[in-house]
Symmetry: C2
Subunit: 225 residues, 2 copies
Amino acid sequence: LIELQNITKIYKSGEVETVALRDVSLFIEEGEFVSVIGPSGSGKSTLMNIIGCLDTPTRGNYFLAGKSVSKLSDSELAMLRNKMIGFVFQQFNLLQRATVLENVLLPQLYSGNRPNKKEAMALLERLKIAGLESKYPNQLSGGQQQRVAIARALINKPKLILADEPTGSLDTKTGEEILKIFEELNEEGVTIVIVTHEPYIARKARRTVALRDGSIEFDEHINEG
Amino acid sequence: LIELQNITKIYKSGEVETVALRDVSLFIEEGEFVSVIGPSGSGKSTLMNIIGCLDTPTRGNYFLAGKSVSKLSDSELAMLRNKMIGFVFQQFNLLQRATVLENVLLPQLYSGNRPNKKEAMALLERLKIAGLESKYPNQLSGGQQQRVAIARALINKPKLILADEPTGSLDTKTGEEILKIFEELNEEGVTIVIVTHEPYIARKARRTVALRDGSIEFDEHINEG
Ligand SMILES: Nc1ncnc2c1ncn2[C@@H]1O[C@H](COP(=O)(O)OP(=O)(O)OP(=O)(O)O)[C@@H](O)[C@H]1O
Ligand SMILES: Nc1ncnc2c1ncn2[C@@H]1O[C@H](COP(=O)(O)OP(=O)(O)OP(=O)(O)O)[C@@H](O)[C@H]1O
Ligand SMILES: [Mg+2]
Ligand SMILES: [Mg+2]
């Protein structure tokens, strides 16, 4: 499903160059459950942004579902991304002027689907934030905002979920409930890639990719058998 | 140092009322190291905002360093807060159009001190983000932004540090380094109140206050003796 070949990402700001990813190759098959770990600044979010077609590599090739991402037009890329990928951002990125319900339904608008309010409400229920649908993000606690971001990532029933520290603002019990939802989706065939610094989450994945200074330090399958 | 008496906080939005804190009383002496835990939405950030004089209670009294906070004028309150308190926000709240260095020095400008660039650089060094001083927040990783927020909270050498999930975006190793800094400051007499959902951090505090649905569920001293 995901094929990154020799991906390098360099951010330039005036004279300063930051190598965020250095010659990273990574193949993830459909249905996998992968955790990505590594120190702060090691390139995890950058990697997720490239996998999620939100950023382009400086060098290297990326094939998503067999398609060469760099060869797609902007609108083709947006459509592929919108139909296939659910993204939970490290800093939520909710629309401040839209209600919780509107935020959750947004990906449906973008993918040209008729907004399904019933499904959105069912997601809020599952994430234990039912009752908050008419509130605005700045009226929510950090963990409630994070769960709105998770609901939004799930509304289009994506084949691939990219979650960047989805439990960073959640207490352990609520974090475990989120993890359970990801495990259930994975059992239904959804591919899950989750950046986390929580060992209990990394352990639940069947494979762990560790980054350090922009390169893959190790890539291990756990629980083989 | 901190004396909350029967604090209730109700958010009103049109017809909807949310009771974020319900009759909370809490006394914290100078030099204490307190962790605040509880499920998402239980009122932890609301409690921190009231202690940090960033929000006013709907009912009840708050005395900070013996002064009745509700009786101070806005400018007296701002001055007290600025001189005494360092606040690490759950979502960082960095100025997007200011560099890392400018963000860290901001509290010094507000407290009328001459900005001490040397001290700011030393803090960045201690937090392992030296070299990033000329970057803007949107050029940093989540954990780097969190450490800028921590540096900013420490620049005025506050007597009270209120840290709302200061390691939420940090890998465990970096999180432990942050905790060590807080422990060192506490040994120098700084009062620390830290909201966390990480058990390893809650255990390092000498006292844990647990919130549930806006009330104090338990308030226990650990390691007495
Ligand atoms: N500005 C606001 N307007 C309306 N309701 C609010 C507002 N801020 C917070 N709330 C509500 O108050 C309650 C407590 O929120 P608070 O942010 O204190 O929780 P928290 O314990 O910090 O949660 P988390 O662990 O998720 O950060 C929540 O139910 C939240 O929805
Ligand atoms: N837009 C940008 N411009 C310049 N440098 C950037 C930009 N975004 C990220 N970086 C740099 O790239 C490196 C990797 O960043 P990234 O956000 O991928 O790290 P991360 O592993 O997600 O860290 P964290 O665990 O703290 O979230 C960091 O050194 C960061 O400062
Ligand atoms: Mg990141
Ligand atoms: Mg909070």
